[in-house]
Amino acid sequence: MIEIGLNAYILLSVVLFAIGFFGVLVRKNTLVIYICLELMLVAATLALVAFSRYNGTMDGNVFVFFILTVAAAEVAVGLAIIVALFRKRMTVQVDKLNALKN
């Protein structure tokens, strides 16, 4: 039986991060960009849990606990900002939100 090493988990986490990063770069909808940001956070938590498990320490797990809490707060505030933005500008497309341009 082949044991799954730490490398596999870290590689998966990096791939997830890269996919989220790509989404942030190419999508236009602010909500989808936000989901992709969350995907990057999840990738980081996966790496933390894997490091914690393979080193026999508790710190990574506890850190993931805090990341979950902060992410929940962040999503609430971020979505409130997006809703406020939509009320003011009637769009959430990033290429139309160019009020600072001129």
Partner: protein
């Protein structure tokens, strides 16, 4: 057996997160994100962090994705093209993504993190007692700070969603 489960879960997670990025519809993206989170929770369970797997499903899949779905339905977006594929930003996006992919490939080919085999490392994340002990001894101050952060976030959301009518009137 465990390695097949790992391969299945990781392929599932990667496919679902690709679905997040590639789906044209924002609701489909949110639902793909939900599935990706379930996959990550399964990986957490494989890493014997059972509490975190449950919290992942409860907090992320239960609360965060539900909030996303509410907002997506509330805003009623009618977008013609989901992609921004023009101009200098596309070039910089492709270059940045290519650099990241090159990094991943070099890591996959060369990066070797030496660890003990899993049977020799204690699974400290498996027991709930360890979490409680750590949170209320070593990390007591961060727990209180996070509590205040949640309070402030709640106040911020209330202010943001209430006050904007007044601001719009004055503007």
């Amino acid at each position: 057996m465990a390695e097949y489960l790992f391969y299945f879960l990781s392929a599932f997670t990667v496919l679902c997160s690709l679905g997040v990025v590639l789906n044209r519809n924002a609701i489909n993206s949110s639902l793909c994100f939900l599935l990706a989170l379930v996959g990550v929770a399964g990986l957490f369970a494989m890493l014997e962090a059972y509490l975190l797997a449950v919290l992942m499903v409860l907090v992320y899949a239960g609360a965060v994705v539900a909030l996303f779905l509410f907002i997506v339905m509330l805003l009623d977006l009618n977008e013609k093209s989901a992609w921004s594929m023009k101009g200098l930003s596309t070039v910089s996006a492709v270059i940045a993504f290519a650099l990241l992919v090159a990094g991943v490939c070099s890591f996959a080919l060369q990066g070797q993190l030496d660890t003990l085999p899993l049977s020799e490392v204690p699974a400290v994340g498996a027991s709930l007692k360890n979490y409680g002990y750590q949170l209320f001894t070593t990390y007591l101050l961060p727990v209180q700070v996070v509590g205040f952060l949640l309070l402030i976030a709640m106040l911020g959301v209330i202010v943001l969603s209430k006050k904007f009518d007044a601001v719009e009137d004055s503007a």
